[in-house]
Amino acid sequence: MTDAAPGQTIGPFFHHALAYPGDSELVPFGAAGSVVLHGHVYDGAGTPVPDAMIEIRQADAEGVVPAVEGSLRRRGAAFTGWGRCCTDTSGRYWFSTVEPGGATPFFAVTVFARGLLDRLFTRIYLPDGADTVDGLVAEREADGRLRFDIHLQGENETVFFSFPRHRS
């Protein structure tokens, strides 16, 4: 296996390049059957991180992982199963999407941030799903939204994953 290129921090100046209209709306906000997945990204002092970027990859409501283009220019068309959200000035991210179906419903998540020297992988499981990982289950709020905070460090540090055939 050839040695891979190492990662580097996303740095502070990515917003004008990576953010785009509709990036965090896998389905239009408020659409029938949609859900809001949101939370904050925190550093080791509990301070919100305003220059993080979160990406999600997911199956559709039936558990099928989409293989269609159109994530960058959605135009209200197909559900592509992928979205991106830069945290706002209060460290908050949000997605408008559908709850994934299937046997192991979770959102696959990639975390980037200034100060974080390489990307991190984690998962967000649904509160009523089976086969979850402790600490990685979204909270169902009274209004139906799903909340999941990401802690890069500290007492509540999020569980991050490495996968075989990938460097840590």
């Binding site: 296996m1 190492p6 580097q8 020297l117 991190l120 994953f161 996968f163 055939r165």
Partner: protein, 245 residues
């Protein structure tokens, strides 16, 4: 902020002497912003599941060919040294990463980003956004035409300067191959002083982030060419599946 470059370089040297690893060290105090943002727990090893085994799909509806030329986006010529960056994206088994999204962003020739957060008192270039996108072709090749970015100061320590670099965002064939990194230029004296580049303690690994000048890519009276190939981590797809593609 009174820490000197000499002190930072000493910190880097001490850490690197103990850490002959290839990947960036997430706990790397010479990069001050990493102090409160690096995870402290061991990563949890997991087998990827269905949704992680396939990358999102990008195609012609997502990216227009003109987005790969950062010198024509504003109707006027950006200032600086016109360059082309060309290379091939492959996975850890040498298979081309086909028709996947490559995004770049960078400072202008004077070392300033077209970003409201960048207050470095260097001129903005009204004809340069520093943002580009393309899809790899059927054999994994990408090409960008752009302007060579300038180095710029930052506040990590006294007299801290980032080496010239282009940020790259790449998708592989698995979601777990996702990579954001930075391409550096050959012969840059600032690389050895830079805590972000030096978070990669293995010199061979850092070398993999450095483009090479390629005269065969340069064009007469027009631009200079750089070659930079990118190896993503191994894919979980089998060779059988790949050969059917």
């Amino acid at each position: 902020m009174t820490t000197s470059q000499h002190e930072i370089s000493d910190e880097i040297a001490k850490i690197q002497a103990d850490s002959p690893r290839g990947a960036p060290l997430l706990d790397f105090p010479p990069y001050r912003s990493s102090l409160l943002r690096h995870p402290t727990k061991e990563l949890r090893h997991a087998d990827p599941e269905g949704v992680e085994l396939v990358a999102p799909v990008f195609g012609p509806s997502d990216v227009a060919p003109v987005e790969a030329d950062l010198t024509v986006q504003r109707g006027g010529e950006p200032i600086g040294e016109r360059i082309r960056v060309h290379g091939r994206v492959v996975d850890g088994d040498g298979r081309p990463v086909r028709r996947q999204l490559v995004e770049i962003w960078q400072a202008n020739a004077a070392g300033r980003y077209s970003h409201q957060g960048d207050q470095h008192p260097a001129p903005l270039d009204p004809n340069f956004t520093g943002v580009g996108r393309c899809l790899t072709d059927d054999d994994g090749w990408y090409t960008f035409t752009t302007i060579k970015p300038g180095p710029y100061p930052w506040r990590n320590h006294h007299n801290a300067w980032r080496p010239a670099h282009i940020h790259f965002s790449l998708f592989g064939t698995d979601f777990t191959q996702r990579l954001i990194t930075q391409m550096y230029f050959p012969g840059d004296q600032l690389l050895a002083l830079d805590p972000i580049a030096q978070s990669i303690s293995d010199p061979a690994a850092l070398q993999r982030l450095t483009a090479s000048y390629d005269h065969s890519l340069s064009e007469h009276e027009w631009l200079l060419g750089y070659r930079w190939d990118i190896v993503l981590t191994g894919s979980h797809a089998t060779h059988m599946e790949a050969s059917d593609d």
